[in-house]
Point group: C2
């Protein structure tokens, strides 16, 4: 079995792909499913997400469009909530809600884009974070035939230390589960995991961690630094019912 770590999304994937956007999309995705969400729809754009918010052509007595109450919208641009969305991209906020029976429509700056790149070619696509690291590693190991690719989303096309660190944590779990031939990306991630301090130190020192801290979202960084607290792994569903959106369910 081969292990490949892409420090940014690029190229194509032949087998099982773990997409990581620790700060914060994949951490939040895990939390939505933990808090009862039936499914996640990762859209290619905010507009696709907003288009799903309303029931097409229906209005209430005052003539206002009628909300489609199956859906809630969560997302961010530059760390901030998107106008018209119900939630930001905050795992702390998500952890305080109950999403039972709801589908959460997500659009974020980096994570949802990375998932779309992975889904173009990968035969199995999972979302991973530090919070579900062990479960994600076990699930990927069970699904993969020849190769596990860990794809780091990064931030605005720049490598994110937090994602590479998390890739190293998952790579360590995978190595404990059996023999793997690792590429240079995996070796870099493993080195970083072993040398960059504990998870909170690593996440707090990353450029994106510092940006979130400045935006008053430091609690999200601390939440995202928890390792293997969850056993939920979002898995790309075979059922893709909305164009331009990837449907993930708890695997």
């Amino acid at each position: 079995m081969k292990l490949r770590v892409d420090l940014l999304p690029h190229g194509s994937y032949s087998d099982t792909v773990l997409v990581i956007d620790v700060l914060r999309a994949t951490t939040t995705a895990v939390t939505y499913l933990e808090r009862g969400a039936e499914a996640l729809l990762l859209t290619a754009s905010p507009d696709i997400a907003l288009g799903l918010k309303w029931q097409p052509g229906l209005t209430d007595e005052a003539g206002d469009p009628l909300r489609d109450d199956r859906y809630l919208l969560g997302g961010e641009r530059g760390g901030l909530a998107i106008p018209g969305f119900d939630f930001g991209n905050s795992p702390v906020e998500a952890a305080q809600q109950n999403f039972t029976g709801k589908t959460v429509i997500m659009n974020t700056t980096n994570g949802t884009g990375a998932a779309h790149i992975a889904a173009q070619s990968g035969s199995r696509v999972l979302l991973a974070s530090l919070t579900n690291a062990h479960a994600a590693a076990r699930r990927a190991k069970a699904l993969a035939l020849e190769e596990i690719a860990i794809v780091c989303a990064g931030t605005d096309e720049r490598v994110g230390l937090e994602d590479v660190y998390a890739a190293g944590v998952i790579a360590e779990y995978l190595l404990a589960l059996g023999e793997l031939s690792v590429d240079d990306g995996a070796r870099i991630a493993l080195t970083l995991r072993r040398s960059a301090g504990n998870p909170l130190e690593a996440l707090s020192s990353s450029v994106h961690g510092q940006t979130l801290e400045r935006l008053g979202l430091g609690e999200d960084v601390r939440y995202a630094a928890q390792v293997s607290e969850s056993t939920v792994v979002p898995v790309l569903s075979d059922l893709q019912d909305v164009e331009g959106a990837l449907r993930f369910v708890a695997g």
Copy 2:
């Protein structure tokens, strides 16, 4: 001053760029200039290089095309010499020759492409390797106004541990020369440099180092692992006289 390390070439560059392809293009480039070459022409394709080999329209008495004896051709594809080229991309081979008065036309799988990406936007472009690491750092520091970007060429669009390690060596020198704000890529490179063993261990353990060893080119890996043996830094010249080729001279 900012320091940015791109673990693969991407994006655009506003200021001073150091292009690294330790195994082997930039190491060999330094060696050509050390051994007397007047200039290097890094071409966008092997065909452009081969087109410069002959004097256009001229033949000898037997009707064979006449060689343009200003030029020598060096390059590789997949580690192997290109048919019609005079040299492979081997620093060991280059170190045994005298290139005085010659221009060496180079085309390689990754390094020349990375240099072309850097030259599209960078205002000053230098070639760096482990062999000229200290000189390259000092030169970049002297030239840069706001940002030094170290661009790792990688191998076939995959991150190369050898390039990231060398970026970490140069980043360490730069930090010793003055205060810098570093991005996550630089922090990853610095961590790797401090944790991945000595230069020869790092280069030998990289995927591309192992490929070269298998091809019988292990001497090149050992040559490329020498740190700061040379003070020659190839600098992109203001004079770009051949279309599709970047002219570098000793800086």
